[in-house]
Amino acid sequence: MAGETIKTVILDNSGIRRALTRISHELLEKNKGLSDVVLVGIQSGGAYLAREISLCMEIIEGERVPVGSIDITLYRDDFKQQAPHKSVGKTDISFSLEGKRVVLVDDVLFTGRTIRAALDALMDHGRPCCIQLAVLIDRGHRELPIRADFVGRNVPTSLKENVEVIFDDQQQPVEVVLEK
């Protein structure tokens, strides 16, 4: 069995739903409602989750918040001459961020470098009132001074392991798996 990856489901579909519902409640509590709140998901997993969170919040408060998505490829810090550049994904923020309470959404928080890039990208779109971070999974191993405001589940991992949020064809979260 050596060399074979072992996959363990650490959060199933209903677990993800409960986590997203709780994050939505916490988010509303912290921001005292929906006013000036906008969600921006990091492509691609975070963008799908941002939409799910906005639907949860709509059920709770009966109102919709603007949802955008951001691609951080152009802001990465690991451009190497050796590696061919990835294709650039779509950034779609059709509303102004000026003075808004921006909630950045990502699926897995790991080194924090993606979030650093996303913060830079957001700043280029305007000057928000504040930026908060919501993630479904926090797996530790931060390399930058970044923490999440809202966490679905803390999962202690080793660096050899990999955590992945699986989405179906309709971009709905299915489960979270730990590979080792």
Partner: protein, 310 residues
């Protein structure tokens, strides 16, 4: 899909998937151009030299803006103030520029194939901004992006190209790119300006009349009469040319009703195109220029990542 070329010299050298990658990256680069802060830090610290041995407004400016929007440092060199006027060879100029450690040289040169020569001499990336009558890949890519914007696809389209095919590097890049993506090309022009054997480039049909080429076309690309490149023997005069091969509000109706009209610029108004068509609602000429910046950002971005990968 990954882009593994150090240089972009001709669309002939690229596969269909590589062309698709360059176009899809360009589509997403447009978002940067629509912001208040039109700059991303991607190519910070890279130096790009724009070496233009032939005159250019659109292409040079577009490459310069593209480099600057990606945070690269861009330097322009024009022939009138370079050592070429003092007799320096291309190879010597290149070696001297190389000593200043650029990452990309964007060059336009009157000699076809000069970029291949340069690419063997230098280690940095080379992007072709037009070489003689060979290719003009950035124009080919931006034409494909502009067509894809309208139709959502490139395969199965009838694309007519009218004018001086022999001297047109735009025509060659368009033919190379569009035929790879599945479009059919119909060419028309005076026989003196039609290169023999052009059908061998792929799905290309040479038509005897302009009507045959334009009939039911989805796209009509008009080419400029390159008076600086041709002698006086290729056509009697511009008025006669205009009568047989100029696009006007009457003959544009031969194409499909929603056909798009394009031109790589600069336009000789009243010669290859009447002003009514240039400024008409089927014209996508300014859209082409707008897409040019995004396409060139995509090219600069991908050659920077493709360096050192062999």
């Amino acid at each position: 899909m990954e882009f593994k070329h150090k240089d972009i010299i001709a669309l002939r050298d690229l596969g269909k998937e590589e062309i698709e990658l360059l176009i899809s990256t360009a589509e997403n680069m447009r978002e940067v151009n629509s912001r208040d802060i039109k700059k991303v830090p991607t190519l910070r610290g890279k130096t790009i030299i724009n070496l233009f041995y032939e005159s250019s407004t659109r292409t040079r400016t577009s490459f310069e803006i593209a480099g600057k929007r990606l945070s690269a440092d861009t330097v322009n060199i024009a022939p009138s103030n370079s050592s070429a006027t003092k007799g320096e060879t291309l190879a010597d100029t290149a070696m001297n520029l190389l000593a200043m450690k650029p990452d990309i040289i964007v060059m336009r040169h009157a000699v076809s194939g000069s970029h291949y020569f340069l690419s063997k001499k230098v280690g940095c990336s080379i992007i072709n901004a037009g070489d003689g009558a060979h290719e003009h890949p950035s124009q080919g890519l931006l034409d494909m992006l502009t067509i894809k914007d309208k139709f959502g696809r490139l395969d199965g389209l009838k694309v007519a190209m009218v004018g001086d095919i022999t001297h047109s590097r735009v025509a060659r890049s368009d033919i190379q790119g569009l035929t790879k993506m599945g479009s059919s090309i119909y060419l028309a022009g005076p026989p003196t300006m039609m290169p023999p054997g052009v059908e061998r480039l792929g799905n290309v049909t040479v038509c005897n009349t302009m009507k045959e080429a334009i009939q039911d076309a989805d796209v009509v690309i008009m080419l400029r009469i390159q008076q600086e490149r041709q002698g006086k023997t290729l056509m009697p005069n511009t008025r006669e040319y205009s009568r047989y091969f100029g696009l006007n509000p009457e003959n544009v109706k031969w194409a499909k009703p929603d056909a798009m009209v394009m031109h790589p610029g600069p336009i000789n108004r009243g010669v290859e195109m009447s002003s009514y068509v240039v400024d008409g609602n089927q014209s996508h000429i300014l859209k082409q220029v707008e897409n040019g910046v995004a396409v060139r950002m995509s090219m600069l971005y991908h050659v920077c990542g493709g360096g050192n990968v062999e």
